[in-house]
């Protein structure tokens, strides 16, 4: 009885404090009102009409500094990079800015499509830089830096001049200069509601035909022989029991009617190399693999390349991880890394022993 009374008392006190005011009637006790600071922290999206855009500004010049420090190592000094991510800048003209249509998109022979060729809305750039960049430290740019980097990208694409200061006051003017602003269409049947064009009829209309539907089929496209093993041995990518086996693509294709090797024996599992496994797990944990592949160059050298050059030099590798470096494998600098010492040592040892998988 007294426990019940206490519970009621607690409820009454909570109600007095306004805590239960947020409860819905249908599902009492579930959910609460979000506080203004909670909403402010998470509600960061910016819409094409600039709803959600915080007040502020940033210059092209400032943007260039931020770009070189935080963006260029993945996106290239001029946004041209295709080393890691698709190129951002290029392929647009003064004429495109006038018309709002990127002419190169009409050419089927134009190589690649840059972000600036595609994006119709400047809000999209601001929003994504703000929410997701830099790639390994998203949401660490200040509002001024986001304006500045956006301004620098617009400048590289000749949308704004060198001395431009982008702000919430003038961003709508920039929108009116976006090279592909008139390049979008929603007149299609692939939005599953009536909110946009409302088109319902699909753009293809195949019919059910059962007999003599087409002339005899001719093979028009197939994978060339040189690509036979490009996806690894397909024998090891199919179940070893059932109606089919995978083709052994390490060998040339057998001629028609020639004997095919009997069902492949079950591939022996490779012995687990625990040390390598642990090191690679650490590389993933500390995002080293964002810039270095185990056996290929990405931004920086592959670990196999480092292992070759620095065999046995655990301390040297460790010092480079901690201090960063430039010039040994290329001109893109690696910033100093702040992972725990023990993890760095484990990684350095693994590299010095050959960086095996």
């Amino acid at each position: 009885m007294s426990r019940f009374r206490n519970a009621l008392l607690t409820l009454a006190l909570l109600a007095a404090a306004g805590v239960v005011a947020a409860q819905s009637n249908t599902f009492p006790g579930i959910g609460r009102a979000a506080t203004p600071s909670e909403v402010a922290k998470w509600d960061i999206d910016v819409r094409p009409d600039f709803k959600g855009l915080p007040a502020g500004s940033g210059s092209v010049a400032k943007g260039q500094d931020v770009w070189e420090a935080k963006c260029a190592h993945c996106h290239g000094v001029f946004g041209e990079s295709n080393e890691v991510f698709s190129p951002l800048i290029g392929g647009t003209t003064a004429e495109d800015i006038k018309k709002g249509r990127v002419a190169n998109l009409m050419r089927s022979d134009y190589p690649g499509r840059t972000t600036m060729m595609k994006v119709p809305t400047v809000s999209t750039l601001w929003d994504y830089i703000n929410r997701a960049m830099p790639w390994t430290n998203p949401k660490t740019l200040s509002t001024e830096e986001v304006y500045a980097v956006t301004a620098f990208m617009l400048n590289m694409a000749n949308i704004v001049p060198d001395n431009y200061v982008l702000s919430d006051k003038n961003i709508a003017e920039v929108q009116a200069r976006m090279p592909n602003r008139n390049g979008m269409s929603t007149a299609h049947a692939m939005w599953p509601g009536n909110e946009l064009s409302g088109v319902k009829k699909p753009d293809t209309a195949n019919k059910i035909c059962m007999k003599d539907c087409t002339p005899e089929a001719k093979v028009a496209s197939f994978l060339p022989d040189f690509a036979r093993n490009a996806h690894g041995n397909l024998q090891e990518q199919n179940r070893n029991v059932g109606p089919q086996r995978g083709a052994d693509t390490t060998k040339p294709e057998p001629k028609a009617g020639m004997p095919v090797a009997a069902a492949a024996p079950v591939a022996a599992a490779k012995p687990e190399i625990n040390e390598a496994k642990a090191a690679i797990a650490l590389l993933n944990k500390h995002s080293c693999t964002a810039c270095h592949g185990v056996d290929k160059k990405i931004v920086g050298p592959g670990f196999n390349e480092i292992a070759k050059k620095q065999a046995g030099k655990t301390d040297y590798i460790l010092s480079k991880v901690k201090a960063g470096g430039v010039g040994v494998y290329g001109q893109i600098p690696m910033p100093p890394q702040s992972l725990p010492g023990a993890d760095a040592k484990q990684i350095a040892e693994w590299i010095s022993k050959g960086a095996s998988k």
């Binding site: 579930i30 698709s86 134009y110 939005w191 087409t214 005899e216 197939f222 996806h231 995978g246 001629k255």
Partner: protein
């Protein structure tokens, strides 16, 4: 800037821009070079009218000395003691199933954190994808998030901005529904020509699971959402990319969109958004926001990065179709399929998957002569709306070259298009939403190849 001196597009990223025009030309050129040999290999014996003897190992050879040693000599597992319960606290597949892995397509991406892995459709049964083999698409790496610290927020055109804990979401009335999830860029490599060898790489960015969660409409009603003027909902992830996508309110008010925590009887796998993801049946995977932290009700679409830079379909006239969310009717034969070898002539069960983002699959037809003649396949139960459906059809292989295709029709009457039909409308640069009929060439030597027919 002058277009001529721009060095762009040398390496193209997934799932956008799989092949550069240069790469496509290269494949075409190599294809042309090898075509004569290829066709000779595939069709030579048939043309000569002399079916070469099938010397492939028999699956079930005639016993020589009194019978099959696998029967006559009792194996260890028949005469010994097996393992005890709970030897594996969370059971694993048989060690003989190690070939079934989700895999990356080599050269597709430079990093593993912004990449895709493909589900091994060639070896799966039924309609459910084992959770550990579910395809992956991450935009900024995956996380294993502590559910006790995960929060879900609703704001925008609502009477009351709200916050929920996982405990609270899981206390609400739940629904469980099967749904397929397909990346909008599934089969993107094949728009211009054949580019990858197996169904894992052509179609493996699709999976189907039973999802459990709370209809989003329930949560929006709790917050007093303006369902009349709020025509769009922004969904936002809690990971580094905090991916955002615009969801049509009509799909939410119909009760279809779920805020899900369960997948195939267990919690979501971390790679699939643990502890909370949006489930948007019929809509491409990018809208099924993982690590879901917030939805916002608004009166206009949001033009998020994956709505205004990627996941737009380039048309021949140079415009992009924007907000192309729906996955249209599609099917594929999973066995026999590219990269497999048939063991012998004789009976085979051709099997495959069909799906439509608009509803149920009504019918699947299968051709073994490259689309000239067709037979209706059996649809296996259950046939569910916006879920994968399994079809089967009997086939006796006579050892001659055959080109296998499947063609699906959904309950809106939409029939899966041929490549010719699709390209005549959308060209070859769309990247997204390739739902064309797939062809597999079974060659005389039993090896199956990915081909496109004219």
């Amino acid at each position: 800037m002058n277009a001529d001196n721009i060095n762009s597009g040398r390496v193209q990223k997934a799932p956008e821009n799989f092949l550069t025009p240069t790469g496509i030309k290269e494949v075409f050129a190599e294809g042309k070079k090898g075509r004569r040999d290829f066709i000779r290999n595939a069709f030579a014996a048939a043309a000569a009218g002399a079916a070469a003897p099938m010397a492939m190992a028999q699956g079930n050879p005639v016993p020589v000395e009194g019978g099959d040693p696998n029967i006559l000599n009792l194996p260890e597992h028949t005469v010994g003691l097996g393992q005890g319960v709970a030897a594996e606290g969370y059971g694993k597949p048989s060690k003989f199933e190690a070939n079934l892995q989700r895999r990356q397509s080599p050269g597709l991406t430079q990093t593993t954190q912004a990449s895709v892995s493909f589900a091994p459709l060639q070896s799966l049964f039924g309609i459910v994808t084992p959770s550990g083999l579910h395809f992956e698409r991450h935009h900024q790496g995956w996380w294993d998030i502590d559910p006790s610290k995960h929060r879900f927020m609703i704001n925008g055109m609502v009477k009351k901005n709200m916050v929920f804990t996982m405990d609270e979401i899981m206390r609400l009335p739940s629904v469980s529904r099967f749904a397929f999830i397909e990346c909008g860029a599934n089969t993107a490599t094949e728009w211009g020509n054949v580019a990858v060898p197996t169904v894992q790489y052509t179609h493996g960015m699709i999976s189907c699971s039973e999802f459990t969660g709370v209809p989003l409409i329930t949560l929006l009603q709790m917050a007093g959402a303006d369902l009349k003027n709020g025509k769009f909902v922004l969904a936002e992830g809690g990971d580094g990319s905090s991916m955002t996508r615009t969801i049509p309110m009509s799909l939410i008010t119909s009760g279809e969109v779920i805020v899900a925590y369960g997948q195939n009887g267990e919690m979501l796998r971390p790679e699939n958004g643990y502890p909370l993801r949006l489930v948007v049946p019929g809509v491409q995977g990018v809208s099924w926001v993982k690590y879901l932290r917030r939805v916002e009700v608004g009166d206009k679409p949001y033009a998020a990065k994956d709505e205004a830079i990627h996941y737009m379909d380039l048309q021949p006239d140079g415009t992009h179709r924007q907000y192309t969310n729906l996955q249209e009717v599609k099917s594929v034969v999973t066995t026999p399929s590219g990269g497999q070898v048939l063991l012998d002539k004789g009976f085979y069960n051709i099997t495959g998957l069909a799906w439509s983002g608009k509803g149920k699959i009504k019918r699947v037809d299968v051709s073994t002569d490259g689309g000239r003649n067709w037979r209706q396949a059996r649809l296996e139960t259950p046939v569910l709306s916006k879920a994968l459906s399994r079809f089967n059809i009997d086939w006796v292989w006579d050892g001659k070259p055959a080109i296998i295709q499947s063609r699906a029709r959904d309950d809106t009457g939409h029939v899966q298009p041929t490549y010719q039909q699709l390209r005549s409308v959308r060209g070859t640069r769309s990247i997204y939403h390739n739902n064309a009929i797939q062809s597999w060439l079974v060659q005389e030597n039993g090896e199956v190849k990915n081909v496109q027919v004219s």
